[in-house]
Amino acid sequence: MGLIKRVGTKGLGTPSADDSTRQIPAAESSARITPPTEEESTRRIQGQPTDEGTKQIPVAPPRPAPPTPAMSAAASIADIHILPTGTLLQGRYRIEEPIGVGGMSVVYRGRDMRFKDVVRYCAIKEMAQTAPDSHTRALNLKNFEREAGLLATLQHPAIPKVYDFFEEDHRLYLVLELVPGKDLEAVLEEVGTPISEARVVTWAIQICDVLSYLHKHTPQPIVFRDMKPSNVMVVGDDRIVLIDFGIARNLNRSDRKGTMIGTEGYSPPEQYRGVAEPQGDVYALGATLHHLLTNTDPRLETPFTFHERPIRQLNSDVSVDMEIIVVKALEYDMNARWESADAMKQALLATISGVSAPGATALPAAPAVAKGTPQTELVWKFACEDEIRSSPAVNSGMLFVGCYDTNLYALDAVRGEFRWKYATDGGINSSPAVWQDYVIVGSEDGALYACDMRRGSLRWTFRTGKPIRSSPRIEDRVVYIGSDDQHIYAVDAIRGVPIWKYRTWNPIRSSAAITSQVIFIGGDDGHVYCLDIRNGALKWKQRTQQPVRSSPTFHEGLVYVGSLDQSLYALDAEGGWPAWRFRTGHYINSSPCVFGSRVFVGGVDGFMYAFDAKNGRLAWKFEVGSQITSSPRVENGRAYFGAVDGNVYCLDAGTGTLIWKYLTGAAVVSTPAIADGIVYVGSMDHNIYALKG
């Protein structure tokens, strides 16, 4: 099924004979009996999963069939030849009522009048030839005859018996055992939820059994080729009967190029290359079981995406063993599947007896989450005199950090030894930045300080009107800094003189992201600003609902920034409009970090988030349980950050699983700095830590 859009393919679509005891569809579905319209415009999407009329035998025709006008539903009903009740065929079979209409056949409930004293019903399948061209008709006829001949040679409790085959009034008839029951699709529809594993297993074992019988057929194996719920009848006490052998065929191995027949959604990939091997039935059975166990219809999903819908994720009642069996049946590679229906049957039997069958033993390894502190080693720690609210910078073997005790500290990064400190006139909330041999940091006293990196001597100061809580960012000799005096400044890094300033209407506590042309920075007025790097001219400003204290980061045309309006934004760098946004449960103070194709950010709602950077799809989130205002740093596939619970966390950046955490004495709002495999971070317990994990 599926949709077909053009003459060449659609025109010869020959829905195969359908089967036995299905009820005639109501009027609305009789439109499906319409032979595929052969107009130029016949691309169609499969509308309903119950559609039976679009099974294809698309053989590439020499020329497309001539266009015929599309038929109305009414006309198509008239086209279908339905025998009236009471019609007697061969002087023996009395038509009782139509019970099913397939694409090219009608199935009646009939009565065999030769048994005069008993009421013996049978299924009478009539070939309904509505195809307009002779080529298709011939093909249909051949199929019908093949089905009859094939069924006549088979003897299996799950295969309907053939009683008779004849032609009357230029029509072909096949008389079959009447199978009273419902097909699995109807069963599933009725239940409306995934079907219990126990029931599915008993069906599956029987299906494997009959498939195995067909596959072992001599002289040539028979490949059923159309295994799907609607082709499996459940009779009485969960007995299974396969119906619709319209397209099953003897496998002629010399005939490499088979035609593509089957049902979209259940057919194995190789069937689209014209390959029909017994393993194809194993795949289709796997697809059928997946559908039954999850109640997700594969015909409504992207083809071949079963592995994206793990069974146990959709139905946790299913056992691990069962999932493994189905997953193995659904391998793309034929050779990776169960080597035979028999092998699959043995595995299914084992799930009942509770013994794992060979081949089903590969239990998924329990996620090896190495938890706890054992691997985390404290390299050193250094005590300052007050809280460390800002983040360290590591450069040339030295670590610089501002402390609320007013000092800018310089330590030896390897040993944690004190080198120098410089006292400002206020606490330090700003994080230092290093440029050449300058260390630059802002202070609550309103000034920006530049010190000599080696000696700690003052090079220059630049005073703003209010405390500086933004952190300096330096690019090409220019320092960009925001101040509570509502300005964004560009300052000459060598001389400490301003180059330009830009006025906003609230304090600036965010720090700038810099590109070759512009800087991006957030403001407490809720705007994200994009300013010309040369003169501070406003390129754009984009409003969020609340102050922006998170610092933007720029990556491949997008600017990522958090806002106190609880959202993480990805703004178009040129337009400023959001490309996407993601709403979390609380403020975002943390500054996003881009690594690979992902963007990471912490939330005050207690989660560390990882998103696909381009479309904002959540890759994972990790619950810490306490506020995260620290910003993540990602290196070597690991994400490091601190949380208000006092821990420093290290997660696997790919999966969001915990690798280690390290407890400090108070909240960690500082953002880690990483150099040579060592993680440096400050804590509100006054200490700066160097950790190795």
Partner: protein, 398 residues
């Protein structure tokens, strides 16, 4: 199905006047750009663009600081400390872009265009760049053309196309925005034609009302990704409802690309395609929602087998044929790519990638390119409606 390859391509070549205008142009460029590089260092830096410090703050520099090695530091002047750096930046940036483009196009002549400056509406003119801008003669710039053709077999054109380029005001600058759509309809009784027209109409309406008009009112807060996705979903809803009331099964593909500055926001359903012509060649941005396309993705089918596959036209996702639809979204910065191409399978099903690339290279004008592509598809049989939207892209600045 007949495939035209290089031989046919040469015939088409003879009918165009390729090559003639480019040679004198690049000579002229070379001359002017040489002038520009000479002129640049002597240009007086424009002090007015710098917000200068007050006199009290501007203390004389210690000698040690002045000696700090920064690029072009010895020529630094107190009035405009950045301008030489800026020129160097511009030069380096351009060199990078020009070199990438030149390497991609394998044309040594392009190297002489180092002094050309990519320009678009968002660019703020700087006097330092003026000589380079005057000298600039770009081989690409923003322009678009959308063409559809009924082909040689069908009697009805069920494809619809759309192209729009506009600028929108933003605080300190103007922003270039483009919207390009291809929709390939399906369903009898003119349903396909109606569906694809409805798709284009709905998506354009959505983008105008949710992006263009709010941007003009400086009130644009919608996010672009959900905007594009919902535009296509609204189209799905519209067509689905129309189909229900008309009792048809019409549907359409829809590939819609929004260009914002130098980034593309694409929403896509079906088997129409969007390609980006990168320096390395044409790259398909979208994936076909056909069973065959999916098999190729999985490596279960060879792309060469796909063109002839009897089920190549089976789509598993379309617009308008189910009450809900999942829309693919793709964000793609254009970088140094030269063209965006949107097309229906009436084009890509008949013309192979190297030929598409050649057609895109041949003329700087999207109109020429569109005409050539459609002519080629018709020469290859024109089995289906053919539509193409060709966008010549602005050079990236970042």
């Amino acid at each position: 199905m007949a495939h035209i390859h290089q031989s046919l391509d040469q015939e088409a070549d003879a009918t165009t006047d390729e090559g003639a205008p480019t040679t004198p142009l690049s000579e002229a460029e070379q001359k002017t750009s040489e002038g520009a590089t000479e002129a640049a260092p002597t240009t007086v830096p424009d002090a007015a663009v710098w917000w200068n410090s007050s006199a009290t703050d501007d203390t004389p520099l210690p000698a040690s600081i002045q000696a700090t090695p920064v690029p072009a530091a010895e020529e630094d002047t107190p009035t405009a400390p950045m301008s030489l750096l800026e020129i160097e930046h511009a030069r380096q940036r351009l060199a990078t872009i020009a070199a990438q483009v030149a390497a991609a196009e394998d044309e040594p002549a392009m190297v002489s265009e180092l002094a050309t400056e990519p320009i678009d509406a968002t660019h703020q003119l700087d006097i330092n760049q003026a000589p380079a801008l005057i000298a600039r003669r770009s081989r690409q710039g923003l322009a678009a053309m959308a063409v559809r053709d009924v082909g040689r077999v069908r009697e009805m054109n069920q494809d619809n196309v759309f192209a729009m380029i506009t600028t929108l005001p933003r605080d300190g600058t103007d922003l270039t925005v483009g919207l390009f759509i291809v929709a390939d309809g399906m369903g009898g009784h003119q349903g396909g034609e109606l569906a694809s027209r409805l798709a284009v109409r709905t998506v354009v309406h959505q983008v105008l009302s949710q992006l263009v008009l709010p941007a003009l009112d400086d009130n644009m807060n919608a996010a672009l990704q959900p905007l594009m996705i919902s535009a296509v979903q609204v189209a799905n809803q519209t067509i689905w409802e129309a189909a229900q009331s008309l009792g048809t099964d019409m549907g359409t593909t829809c590939t819609a690309a929004l260009l914002v500055g130098h980034a593309l926001y694409l929403a896509h359903v079906g088997d129409s395609r969007a390609y980006l012509f990168e320096p390395g060649g044409l790259r398909q941005l979208t994936s076909d929602h056909s069973t065959v396309g999916r098999l190729i993705q999985l490596g279960q089918l060879d792309p060469s087998e796909a063109r002839e596959h009897p089920l190549r036209n089976q789509l598993y996702r379309t617009i308008g044929q189910q009450p809900q639809v999942m829309v693919d979204f793709i964000y793609q910065p254009i970088g140094v790519s030269s063209h965006l191409l949107l097309c229906s399978d009436g084009l890509w099903g008949l013309i192979d990638t190297p030929m598409l690339e050649q057609a895109l290279k041949r003329s700087p004008w999207p109109q020429d390119t569109c005409n050539e592509l459609i002519a080629l598809a018709n020469l290859a049989g024109g089995e289906d409606n053919i539509s193409a939207v060709v966008v010549s892209l602005p050079l990236a600045e970042r």
